[in-house]
Symmetry: C2
Subunit: 397 residues, 2 copies
């Protein structure tokens, strides 16, 4: 019996285009992880979450351990509504769907909007997991380069008007991370934000706005696209993974009622009542602004340490964008194949993510890499960049 | 802007066939819930789970709060391998995928196997959430009646041979709950189990075996289909929801490596590291057999209380299957529309699930209802059935 013979046609196509297993080499335990887009261990509130679980189970006993028993799940919705309001987004309960992190949110949106003929517009480079999710639904993409001011809206318009002229399918949606982008760390400029919204109306597409890093500014957080969304074209995805803890998997989608009820229908029971109730209990006992301010201070400082180490240990030819928030620094190394560099770096004892993984056409990413300053501590960041510098010099020689 | 205009074609079809919102009336708080397929509150180990979280976070700090950081996630896999071995199913690590409960397992399987032309064979009646999940992918079903010995395999073979003769599409898979079925409580007889496996080979379809209740026998648990699966046709879905706690959402799929790696690819990051690590910590500190034996004793006793109350308070014309395990009793009330009965029952103060929700053609379920003895305590079960009897008598008069 051949198992593949039972797969549905679109799944066969997706697996053929993007076979499982094509991913990063495994990272030795002792390596300094400048690859990991995780929050800093010291900034994950383990103790308070332990206390939250104890409080929750004391007050509610078995309720949060059933399917949807805890009244705190409704409370979490309210807490998220407040977060959204603080980002300039005013939404009712019916315009909000809690998901298992941003990934489930992106997958659900892809599921209701895409089929194998749909076209998706993405930033180049972009978040690799989102790309992988979209590729499960369609193989048709438009890829628009990002520069230091974010998505290049002029290029987007060029592509759109050309496609319209030729009678080609226009994108169903644009996937963008406008603020502290993964992987480039760049932020879309205000006038480009305006432009993207205008283009969406003009060419009739939706916008999937991924705001996972939006609150983690070093100075100020620009308003999300959703805050200026006049006709409900923006599906805004938020997450508590980067500001509290990824392991609880709390994300959400803010959108018009019409979208949210369709998304909810396809989400079914894929909820995590215990994690959601734990998160709500934790949130009710903290002052969120204080937590965010702490994170901003710490990550600003870690980013500065990384940038200064790059200046010190990397050769002149290497350049990078200086981010104003988020977790990442995007580095350009002319003449270096960063996949090859990774082998050297791992044996030196430092990891990063080669740029190719963030591009639809992996060749576009050969001379780039993503560094994360979120996870490693400051001493390790310096040490890690020093090791990276050694690895780069050994290749350039 | 009309949001529906952006939905993909298959989603439009699914929403048209099965619009959101068509579901049970809400149940007043004071009602005795004979509708809820939840474990008994007293049997949900809240205290031990609280201790497990404390132990986990003490020993691992932030690890289980990151994406896949906890080493206990691997341990959970081993614990499930042992559970499977105890059910007569020998599987390697690569033949096992942990999911967010049985629902995500069923959804993932539907996702890789179905498209809008695929045919699914289901039991009649069957688990309503599974039906809803399948309807998101296809509208083509074969519905095979269940009697007191489970799926009527003779009828299944008749339908299959007739479809083959006519050149009609054969099912991609059969969805079955062979042991302590939801909603009928029936168990598939040994010779029928053998027959189903033979038919799968003869007509080249797969079997999606849902074993959520399999361990909860009052006497003995029959071997799952997967235990006698010679050529890898059975995708076996298990769950800890009914034996530990639904709110942690730990389920799994056991299948051949080929299926598991494709399923894993589409599952992506939709994991719950914190819940999984909590479950593993809980499991390492209990003797599972003792827990299962306790559950069996308690549910056996609760079931007996329900059956005896039915004998006492329901009119002669009403009949039911006596289950040998699981959570449910399936009741037939000739001449009663159970959706209408529900209104009366709710005002008496008791809830149940009308039979129609468990059928593809809801008309087939009008005179049936599902009672659950799992959630309410014994006193409430008696009281609830008494109220149900009053509601039935008020309608039959």
């Amino acid at each position: 019996m051949k198992v593949e013979s039972f797969f549905s046609e679109n799944i066969k196509a997706a697996l053929k285009n993007d076979p499982p297993g094509e991913w990063m080499p495994s990272i030795p335990d002792k390596c300094i992880r400048l690859s990991s887009g995780f929050p800093a261990p010291a900034l994950v509130p383990s103790e308070q979450l332990k206390a939250a679980v104890a409080k929750l189970l004391e007050e509610e006993q078995d309720l949060p351990l059933h399917y949807l028993g805890s009244p705190r799940i409704e409370k979490l919705k309210q807490q998220i509504q407040v977060r959204m309001a603080d980002r300039g987004i005013s939404i009712s309960k019916d315009e909000l769907l809690i998901t298992s992190g941003a990934c489930q949110a992106i997958d659900l949106i892809a599921r209701i909007l895409l089929n194998d003929e749909a076209v998706v517009a993405v930033e180049s480079p972009t978040y690799m997991e989102a790309l992988e999710i979209f590729k499960n639904y369609t193989q048709h993409f438009i890829s628009i380069p990002v520069d230091e001011h974010g998505l290049q809206t002029d290029l987007l318009e060029e592509v759109l008007s050309e496609r319209k002229r030729l009678g080609l399918t226009l994108p169903r949606f644009l996937y963008t991370i406008p603020t502290f982008q993964n992987p480039t760390g760049t932020t879309m400029a205000a006038e480009r934000r305006q432009r993207v919204l205008e283009l969406a109306a003009k060419y009739n597409f939706l916008i999937l706005e991924d705001d996972a890093y939006g609150e983690l500014s070093f100075n100020h957080s620009p308003q999300p696209l959703k805050a200026n969304d006049k006709d409900g074209r923006v599906l805004h995805v938020g997450s508590l993974s980067k500001v509290i803890a990824p392991g609880l998997r709390v994300g959400w989608i803010a959108g018009t009622n019409g979208f949210i009820s369709a998304l909810a229908w396809f989400k079914k029971d894929l909820d995590h009542p215990f994690a959601q109730a734990t998160m709500a209990t934790f949130m009710e006992d903290i002052i969120f602004e204080e937590r965010i301010n702490l994170l901003r201070d710490r990550y600003r400082s870690k980013c500065a340490v990384l940038i200064s180490a790059l200046e010190q240990f990397l050769p002149e030819s290497v350049s990078w964008y200086v981010p104003n928030g988020g977790y990442f620094v995007w580095v350009n190394l002319p003449g270096v194949d960063t996949a090859q560099l990774l082998t050297h770096a791992l044996s030196e004892g430092v990891s990063f993510i080669p740029g190719k993984y963030f591009f639809l056409d992996q060749n576009d990413g050969i001379e780039f890499l993503r560094l994360s300053f979120s996870y490693a501590d400051e001493k390790d960041i310096v040490e890690g960049v020093k090791k990276l510098g050694k690895a780069v010099n050994s290749i350039l020689k």
